[in-house]
Structure formats: C-alpha cells, structure tokens
C-alpha cells in the first residue's frame, strides 16, 4: 500500500506552509480555546480518537467514530495534516498513526516541539476557524497491509530478524518486557526543549540499539501513546518497515508471567508461610494480594487475614471431604482476641463457614502460616482452592441433584469433572482477562442458572442424541445480562473443548486493561451471537489442526431441541431419587454454619446416606441417598431443627453475600441482619398463617452492587447503599422486585436508598399486598410487572395499603417458561 509521507516538520516550515495544510490541535478543548492555538488550527481532542473503552478493538477507535471526528473537523482524507499537542507530542503522533492505520491518503506531519515551540516563534489565536464539514472514509485495511500487528505477529517477530522495541522507560523495561525487546525510551529522541534531536544523533542512538532501517521494527508501549511518537520519528528518518502492537505489555505479561501462575503463587504461599504475612507483602509487593486469588485466597478487610475459598465442582462432596472442610473451619477460621475471638459474631460465634452461590465453601480469618497445613489436609482428600477466585475458570456450577434426579436427561458429573480438570493449574487459562463462570446442567429445571453464567450448558436432544444447548455472555453485577443462546448443539464429550475454545477467544480478544468492562458478556454484546460462534469455530479448528496435524474447519451442529422446561429455585425438602431412595434438601439460612456442624452433616451422610453431600447454588445443603426407612430417624436429628428440610418461607429463600463483616467492598452488614429478619418474618408469616401459601420468599441481600448474593434474580433483591437526609445517615439498600430466571427477568429496581430498619415492615406489606391483589396463579414477577412502580413504592413506604393496590390493569408481559 502506498502509505502517505509521515514526518516531522518545524514551526518555521509550518508558518511558511500554513495556508496549504490542515493544522490539527489535539489538546483538550479548554486549552485550545482559552490558552490559544496555532491560527487556523482545528481542534480534535485526543480523548475523542483514543478509545480505551472498546473491549475488542483495543486502543484504536472504531473507524466510523474516527471518520466522524475528522469529518466534523472539516478534514478530508486527502488533506495534508500537521498535528501538534503538548508534552512532546505523543498524542498528536497518535492522531497521525491512527490516520495511517485507517488509510489517510494525504501527507501527515508532526509539529516538532508542539505548541510550546510554536509559541516561541509564532502567534496564538483563540478564534475558532470556520468549519466546513467534510466527508471522511476510514477503513480497517487488510491485516497484511496494516502497520497494526497482533500478538501472534509480535511472537513471530521475537523469533525473527525483526527488532521488537519497548518505547517505555528504562525502569519499566527492567521490570518486565517482551522477550528480546530492546529498550528505547521515546523521550530519548527529544532534546531538553522537547524538540527532535539532530538526525545524526538519532541515527547513532538507534543503531546503538540495533534498530536499523533494513530490519522490520515492531513497537510497543503500554497504552499506545508513546509508541506513536517513535513510529512517526522512525518514518521521518526513512524507516519504512515499522509496525506497532496495541495490546501493550499488560496483556502480554498477564498471559505469560509466572507472577500470575496459580501453581507458582501456591508455591510462594508455602515458601512464606513461616515468615508471615508482612514478609510476603514486603518482598512481593502489595499487589501479590490481588494475585493470590488465583490460589483461592482473598485478602479480607482485616489486614493480614484471608478468606479461603474451597472449590466444590458441581457441589459434590464426599463425607470425608466435608469432615475435613468442617474441621479446618473449626480449627483455623477463628478470629484473634482483639477482633472478638470466640464471640466475634453475636449469632454465629466463631469457627464458621459460608456456603456460596457457586457451590463453594468460604471461611475467614485464615492466617498465612496455617495455609500449608490446610492445603495438605485438602490434598489428602482431593480438595483444592486453586483458581477458586481470580481471573480463571471458576468453580463449575451444576444441578445439585445431578445423577440422582429422577427426570434428568444427562448426568453431567463427568462433564463437570472434565472442565474442572482441564483448567486446574493451567497457567495459560489460569490468567484470563477476567473471571469465566461456567454452569452445566442435565436436568430440565435450569438449576445451574445458565443465563447468569458466562457460559452455560443446558440439556438438548438432536436426532435422538442427548447433548447440550449453549448460552454465552450472561452475568449480573453492574451490567446484568441474560446469556445469549448460541443456537448450536454439542455432544457431552465436546463440552470441555468448547469451554477451552471460549477461554481462548476470551484471552485473545478480551481486554486485559479495561477491567470494569471486560467480562465475556461485553465481547458477546459487541460481536453478537453469530460472530461469537464463528470465533469459537475458528478456535476449535486450530486446536483440531494442532492435534491432528492437518487443517480442518470445525463447524458446529445447528441447535437441537431444548429440554429446559422450568426453573427451579431450590432443592429444599425431601425428594425421591431415580433409584427410589431420597435426597433431603436442607435450608442453611444465609449459607452460614459452624465448621463443627458441617462435620456433623458428614457423619449423618455416612449414617443415613452413602457418605455423600451436595452443596446448592442457593447456599443450601443436600444429603442424598437416604433410604425411605431412614428418613424418619434422620429428620429427628437435632441439627435439622436449625437446618430444616421444611423451613419457613423466609428462612428458605434468604441468600446473602459476605457483607461488610469481612469484605472491604461491603457497604452494609448482611448475614446477621438477614438471618434475624428471616426468623422474625417467618414468625410473622406463621402467626398469620401465610406460610401455608408461600413455600419460599426469595430475599437476596448483597452488601454492595457487585451482586454476590444475586439480588437480580430474587423476589426481593437488595443491594447495599448509604442513606443520608438533613438529619442523619444510615445503612440502606436499593430495593428490586420481581426477578425470576424462569421468566427470563431480572428485578426492577423500584426504590433507591431505603433505610434498612424499614425493610422488614416493608417486606410484610409487600407480601400482604401481593396476597390481596394477585390474580389466580400470578407469579411475583407478573404481579410486580403489573403493579405500577409508584404503587410498589407506596407499598414499601407504607403510604399505600394492601387493599389500595390496583387490580384492574392488564398484565403486559407473558410468562416465559423457556430459557431465553
């Protein structure tokens, strides 16, 4: 491709040629208007053409967005541009590099010394030139014609005659760099006045680093700002084979650094256990605490202590494993005396553990020095904490009744194990842009909540073969999204490969930089289902090629018939299994119990069942394989008074996250408050006889907006907030109503910042109003959809009585039983 001339011009040259070129000022609009600019210059602020928000395309803006900006500034693709900024001009260079990448035809010049150099010799103007809007067509050139290269090309360059150049500072380079990269601080090309050094001096400098015009040069930095300047200067000096890598060092590092290797991190914990927390942080830096998540350790709010998360794939535990977990909690999850010791928690005492919505087990107050011992005990019984947290494939969630449910299509336990094993300790996929949550279910009731996972498998049948439909890009938190159906059919033995292919696509295209927007769902949203499916096929093809040695295009089978018919909220109660025995689902209110109690359940599982326990995505516990003849005896065990198969509706439906007790993000305290509420509300419901009509009232309370308690899928979803008025401030919640995965609906956030002390009474009013005004068989979701929000708010605040609730309006939404 004939690229335009790209070089550096002096202020002197510009004053002579000002009439024939388009001068572009890339500083912010305020500097441009208030502090003055080169007369006649148009303003295209750098923030407008740099796009750190884009998930897939890295730092370049979309071509259309770039074209729009330039057109608005009256720039034509054939114009000769002279760009300038301040601070030596990297952002002006960035504009020129973007223009080159998108096929600008006119010549491109960087003003040497930028605005400061111009000010020394020329006048400034504060008048905006009249803008004639132009048309600008920008396009992504074909890959082999573009100066922009991807990671694979950089990897290839590392092993070739090409020279890879790190344009960051010496210190940054010393800390870490792409293998073989030479360091050339972009500022070394400038003199004290931030003007370009003389040509001879520059050539000597470049040669000393091995950067010569006859070698292909690949530049990188961190945010594609500094390399732009070097790119322009090299072109100016006549280097015509220069490419740049946008992904920056960040993603390179993440993917290959031992710092992010789960096994390496585990080894570090063991190495520092004797020396203690302070030595670990002193030697490895404070940021090691973030990385330790990959080993299953989450630094808790109280400095020096960890939350330890134990992975339980599919929620399936042997009694032996459960006994170890319970014993570890009882022995090690103990608060020091200055944090309350044995009475650290007024309700739960000390030595307790939490069951989570991903079928994990969490415990707090774990000290670094105890971790090797805990891991040793875990390894002896086949448990692990590896990759339980962090940017990895998280614990695989499945139906807790897998293999025993009388109506399931596929027993998914082999797939759960496959996927778990595929990623365990894997350094490459242990280090994704963000976490990747996978759910697999073989039952018809979507127990594993496919729609709120990054990747969800639900049963399907095709030509008489059992397999799965696949959903991608679901999640909650601050960008809730129901997963999209990929409209394909996979066989059970393809599941693990498909997860690996998804991780591959995520790793290659997801951003390692924009951490708040890089869950897989943003990629799905940006690409759409079709493109995502194609990318998966491409990833699977190359894997196939790698394994078989021959190229072959992998293609998915079109979707089969979905077998998901319903959505099941929980597994509480006594249920018959396919073999005629029973599983007993026990409500563990807010998911918390003493470690010793957990061990007691291990004993009971051996006495009454087959020595097996299951954890559910509702923070509950399930004891399978109980013979009918043993049910009575099991039910009369005293521990079942507290963890009941027949609880009140609120105890049964309550789910909470850790909250401000241990979590540094938690805005409000959750567990103690919610269990008090649940008990109090159950009494209220029993007094009024409401417990007959309501099996479960699903109240989910998250301490902040991160959705760890999944408030979006509850009847009543709460997330922590802070209330303030003229006279006081207090803990509060946003109140969301009517979430139902079966109907494909998240809650509507009906009221914000509601003071917490008003919630129990508001919940009572809601239940009464629902009972008073619901139509026959009307679900909570349909009811909250039908009742106008201002009335719902009235019910919450007490301004509207239950009998005043509207009953006449037609429902606007149809109930969908199918998984979307």
């Amino acid at each position: 491709m004939g690229r335009p001339d790209l070089s550096v011009v002096s202020p002197c040259w510009l004053s002579e040629n000002r009439e024939t070129v388009t001068v572009v000022d890339v500083r912010d609009p305020r500097a441009y208007t208030d502090r003055g600019h080169v007369p006649g210059a148009v303003n295209v602020p750098a923030e407008r053409f740099r796009d750190p928000s884009s998930v897939a395309a890295g730092k370049l803006p979309e071509p259309e967005a770039f074209a729009e900006e330039l057109a608005a500034a009256g720039i034509d693709p054939d114009d000769t541009i002279v760009a300038y900024g301040d601070e030596g001009g990297p952002l002006a260079a960035r504009l020129l590099l973007t223009a080159v990448t998108y096929g600008h035809r006119g010549d491109l010049f960087l003003l040497d010394g930028g605005i400061d150099a111009w000010r020394d010799s020329g006048s400034l103007s504060t008048e905006k030139p009249p803008l004639e809007s132009a048309t600008y067509d920008a396009d992504r050139p074909p890959a082999d014609d573009s100066p922009l290269v991807d990671r694979e090309e950089v990897e290839a360059a590392v092993d070739s005659e090409s020279v890879v150049v790190d344009t960051r500072t010496r210190a940054e380079h010393d800390q870490s760099h792409v293998p073989s990269a030479v360091q050339l601080d972009w500022e070394d090309l400038l003199d004290e006045d931030r003007r370009l050094k003389p040509r001879a001096e520059l050539e000597d400098l470049l040669e000393s680093r091995g950067i010569t015009p006859d070698r292909r040069t690949v530049l990188y930095c961190n945010t594609a700002r500094r390399l732009s300047h070097t790119y322009v200067v090299l072109n100016h000096l006549g280097y015509d084979d220069v490419a740049y890598y946008e992904g920056s060092l960040t993603d390179w590092l993440r993917a290959d650094s031992p710092d992010w290797d789960p096994l390496e991190l585990q080894a570090q914990v063991r190495a520092y256990a004797d020396r203690g927390f302070d030595a670990l942080v002193a030697d490895l830096g404070e940021d090691v605490l973030g990385r330790l998540k990959l080993a299953g350790l989450y630094h808790q709010k109280q400095r020096g202590f960890f939350m330890l998360r134990t992975k339980v794939p599919g929620g399936e535990l042997t009694a032996e494993q459960a006994r170890v977990i319970g014993g570890v909690a009882d022995e090690f999850a103990r608060a020091p005396d200055d944090h309350g010791g044995e009475s650290q928690n007024p309700i739960f005492g000390d030595g307790y553990l939490d069951l989570t919505t991903r079928q994990d087990v969490q415990m707090h107050w774990i000290r670094l020095e105890d971790i090797p011992e805990i891991w040793d005990r875990y390894e002896a019984v086949g448990l692990t904490t590896l990759q339980a947290c962090g940017n990895s494939v998280r614990n695989v969630v499945s139906c807790p009744a897998a293999g025993i449910d009388a109506n399931e299509t596929i027993d998914v336990r082999p797939q759960v194990t496959d996927v778990t094993q595929r990623f365990l300790g894997d350094r490459v996929y242990g280090n994704l842009p963000r976490k990747l949550k996978v759910s697999i279910t073989g039952c018809h009731e979507n127990c594993a909540r496919a729609q709120i996972n990054d990747l969800g498998f639900t049963p399907a049948v095709k030509d008489g073969r059992d397999g799965f439909a696949v959903h991608v890009g679901g999640g909650l938190s601050d960008g809730p999204r129901m997963a999209s159906d990929l409209e394909l059919f996979v066989e059970p033995d393809q599941v693990s490969e498909l997860v690996a292919a998804t991780a591959e696509v995520f790793k290659n295209h997801g951003s390692y930089l924009d951490t708040a927007v890089n869950r897989l769902r943003y990629l799905v949203e940006e690409w759409g289902v079709e493109r995502f499916r194609e990318e998966l096929e491409r990833a699977l093809s190359s894997e196939f090629e790698f394994e078989s040695g021959s190229a072959s295009d992998f293609e998915f089978e079109p979707a089969g018939e979905s077998l998901t018919t319903d959505y099941r909220g929980d597994h509480v109660g006594v249920h018959e299994q396919d073999d005629g025995r029973f599983y007993v689902g026990l409500a563990v209110p807010v998911g918390r119990m003493a470690g010793s109690e957990f061990a007691t359940f291990a004993d009971h599982a051996e006495t009454y069942g087959d020595g097996e326990l299951r954890l559910t995505p509702n923070q509950n516990l399930l004891v399978p394989h109980v013979a009918e003849s043993d049910l009575e005896a099991f039910r009369s065990e005293s521990i079942l008074e507290r963890y009941s198969p027949d609880p009140g509706p609120f105890t049964r439906g309550v789910v909470t996250c850790t909250g401000s007790e241990f979590c540094s993000y938690g805005v409000i305290e959750t567990k103690n408050r919610a269990i008090r509420w649940a008990r109090q509300l159950d009494e209220w419901a029993a007094d009024r006889g409401l417990d007959e009509d309501h099996d479960a009232i699903r109240l989910h309370m998250s301490g902040c907006s991160a959705s760890c308690a999944q408030p979006q899928i509850a009847d009543i979803g709460l997330r922590g907030e802070v209330y303030r008025d003229d006279s006081r401030t207090t803990e509060a919640v946003d109140v969301g109503l009517g979430g139902d995965l079966g109907a494909g609906e998240f809650v509507d956030w009906v009221a914000g910042k509601v003071p917490l002390e008003t919630i129990p009474a508001a919940v009572e009013r809601l239940v009464l109003a629902y009972d008073a005004s619901r139509r026959p068989d009307e679900s909570v979701t349909d009811w909250t959809d039908r009742i106008p929000d201002h009335e719902l708010r009235g019910i919450l605040s007490g301004a509207t009585g239950p009998e005043e609730v509207a009953t006449g309006r037609e429902t606007e939404t149809e109930t969908e039983l199918e998984v979307r």
Partner: protein
C-alpha cells in the same frame, strides 16, 4: 423542610426540591457511552449514583475543585488520586454507594447549607464521633492577629498567625499534627499535602500555596506515614473553604470514623484556586520562570510573585490568570470558609496582620490556647471582608446553574443536578473510560 427519616428516601426527595416524576422513577442514565450499559439494562432506582456520575458531572466537566472529599467519603477506598492531574480517579471497583456524590461540594452536597450546620442541632448520635459536639450557638468573633515571634511573622503569609496558632496547639499537646500545604520539590508552584508535627515543619511550609492538594483524601496515608500514635490522633486540617465544607459534612454524618482524626478545621479565605499546570504556563507566558518563584501572594486583585530574596518578579492583575483558575471555584460563595472552626485571610487587616474569624467551641478553645503566641485585637470593622465576601457570593450566584439556597436540603439528587446543569456551559462531559474502567482491583 421537615424530614421524616423513617420513610423511604424517594419520598424524601419529593418533600424538598423535586417534582414527583423526576426522582420517583428510575434514574436517568449518565451521558457517556458506558459500555456497561447493555442493550436492555435495568435502570437504577432514583437516588443511586456511581463514581462514574461524579466523573461526568464534576471531573470530566472540569468543575472539580480538588478538595479530596470524595476520596475521604468512599467507604471501600475505591477512589484514589491521579498524581498527574491531582484529581480523583477510580482505583478499584465502585460499589455504587453514592457517598462520593453525596459529599462532593460541586454535586450532591449543598455546600451553602453546610455553612449553616453550626446553627443546627446535631445529627443523631453516632457511635464514634463526638468531635463537633457543642458547636451550637457559638459566637463568631473576628480578630486581627500576628505572631509575636518575628521569625514566624516573616515566614508566614500576612503575619504568620496560622503558623503560630498551629505551632502553639502542637506544643500545648492539643494536636498531634497539622495538615498543611507545602510546595512540591519536583514541580514548581504545585502544592502537596504535608502533615507537620513540629514548629520547624510548620515554618518550612509557611506561606500560601495556590493550587489544591486533595488533603482531605490523604489524611489516612499521611497519618500512616507519620510517627504519630495511631490510636487516637488529633489533627488540625488547614485548607480552602471547600475542603473544610467537605470535612464538616463528613464529620457531621460520621460513617466509619473517616474524619475522627480531625480535631480542628482552619479555612484559608479564598476566591479561587489554580490548576498547577495552567498556572505555571500562565506565569511563563508573563515572561517569568515558574521555577524561580518562591512565593505567590494575591492582594487587592493583584497577583505578586517573588523569588528567594523577596524580590518581586511579577505584579499582574489576577484576571490575567483567569484561564489558570479552577473552573469549579466560580461556583463557590464561601469566600470566608464558614464551615471552619477558624478562618484566616489577609482581607480586612493591616498588612502584617491576619484576619481571623473564630467560631465554634473548638475554635474558641484553640484560640485561647494559642493566644500566648499571638498578638491579637478584635476587629470591629469588617467592611472590607464583607465586601469581598459579597462580591464572591454574587459571582457564585451568577455562575451557579442551580439555585443558591442556604435553606435547601443538604443533598442534591442526580436528577436535580441534571435539571439545573444540562445544557449550560457546566454541562456533563461523557465519562473517561480510563478514569472509571482501568482499575486493577475488583471483587
């Protein structure tokens, strides 16, 4: 303005300023194209704000006054300071608690109401905070003061009274340290927050710095790095009126003890502060090397710059530096610093004296203790002070897109802010993804 705390807040909002439809319904979304806002996202309820909203309404729109209140208000320490710009930035996940918005004097905090807090009853007792007890009914007295000690007198601005006040309190054991502003070694004319623990350290930083330091957001870090006993530290906080407004609001509505170390607030009277980078350029534009400037002083509408030897380098009408001023300052009517225990400034006293306004019990007690080191006289005549305060209030009323209302509710909702600011020259600017997305820590 009656409040009914037991009711839900969406009701509260309608009690005060908004029409029902505005705040009762779901919240308006922000102005930037936030990629987190997926196709059919559930809207947030009224009243909810994220750092992203503060970013658009205050920081990106160049209205930030760099007081540091948002950093101090954030319960999860998610807001840090961008050391290049000296402005707030997200450093880890935002939990959506709204506190940064609620306490920002340029968005959710009606700062003019904060100035009335001294006249109001205390908020409901909170467990940890008794620091502002007894402010009710305290009289305001204005003094002219200067240091008895001539060395301090020369080093400080207008008589070294603030330096002396703090030094006396330190030496009397009333405070363990004072958070003041010094100048950064690496960047001329750029302020930095300093925790001074001795008279010598105070003297070293004496003299005004005309750029902001985000000191309210640095209290914890400064304490951590100091030798002060961390169990019950007592600090004086010195800052511009906006810093003290933020501190006063945080103290009144104690959340997690974040302002417990503050034992005294001292406001430095102020009509505007400067953006350090732009101030340097403006001074350079006047032909003066910013690095040679040792001291800046603003008096009677003129900015004076002098060097090491006290030689005047520059004498220029303050208007010349308009473009270097923080844009957010024009919305401020609080020249004197009415939320502070003590305010100090040059206006209204003879040269070599500082005008000091003492209010609140805390302020009076501090004044008494420090009196041995100060030469003071009650100022009966405060016309000059009133005049400039009036001018400042007029400017604020002209600039403020919203209503200036000292009797309005303490809080300003996002919707009310939007209703007043949208379409003005102080409109929101789309979010900067780098400020709200590129943090390393998430849960």
């Amino acid at each position: 303005m009656s409040e009914q705390p037991s009711r839900v807040p969406t009701e509260r909002a309608t009690d005060t300023t908004s029409s029902e439809n505005e705040t009762d319904g779901p919240r308006t979304s922000g102005v930037g194209g936030d990629p987190r806002e997926l196709a059919d996202v559930t809207p947030d309820p009224g009243g909810k704000t994220w750092f992203r909203d503060l970013d658009e309404a205050v920081i990106e729109s160049d209205r930030c006054i760099q007081c540091g209140t948002c950093v101090a208000a954030c319960p999860s320490d998610s807001i840090g300071i961008d050391e290049t710009t000296g402005r707030p930035t997200l450093v880890r996940m935002c939990t959506g608690c709204s506190r940064c918005w609620d306490f920002c004097p340029r968005s959710g905090l009606r700062y003019e109401r904060v100035l009335e807090f001294g006249e109001e009853p205390e908020v409901e007792a909170s467990a940890t905070d008794d620091s502002r007890a007894g402010t009710v009914g305290a009289q305001e007295t204005t003094y002219a003061a200067r240091a008895r000690d001539t060395a301090t007198n020369d080093a400080g601005q207008d008589g070294g009274a603030v330096t002396t006040l703090l030094a006396e309190l330190l030496e009397a054991g009333e405070i363990d340290g004072a958070i003041v502003a010094g100048e950064r070694e690496d960047e001329p004319l750029r302020g930095k927050a300093v925790l001074a623990t001795s008279r010598e350290e105070l003297l070293a930083t004496a003299g005004s710095v005309y750029s902001q330091t985000m000191q309210l957001g640095r209290i914890h870090d400064l304490l951590e790095a100091s030798d002060i006993d961390k169990r019950d530290p007592q600090l004086a906080l010195v800052g511009t009126p906006c810093v003290i407004e933020g501190a006063a609001a945080l103290e009144r509505y104690d959340w997690d003890g974040e302002t417990d170390p503050i034992a005294l607030t001292v406001a430095l009277m102020c009509t505007r502060s400067f953006e350090h980078e732009r101030l340097r350029s403006s001074i350079a534009d006047c032909g003066v090397d910013p690095a040679a400037v040792e001291k800046l002083d603003v008096s009677d509408g003129v900015l004076y710059a002098s060097d090491d030897d006290g030689e005047t380098l520059l004498e220029e009408a303050i208007d010349t530096f308009d473009t270097a001023a923080l844009r957010g300052c024009a919305e401020c009517a609080d020249f004197v610093g009415g939320a502070a225990d003590i305010s100090a400034g040059s206006v209204g006293s003879d040269e070599s004296f500082t005008t000091m306004v003492v209010r609140t019990d805390r302020g009076e007690r501090a004044w008494e203790i420090a009196s041995s080191g100060l030469e003071t006289a009650v100022l009966e005549e405060t016309d000059a002070l009133d005049k400039i305060a009036d001018w400042n209030r007029r400017r604020a009323r002209e600039t403020l897109p919203r209503e200036f209302d000292p009797e309005g509710s303490v809080g300003i909702t996002y919707e009310d802010h939007r209703a007043a600011y949208d379409g003005t020259d102080r409109d929101l600017e789309p979010l900067n993804p780098a400020r709200v997305h590129q943090y390393e820590e998430w849960c």
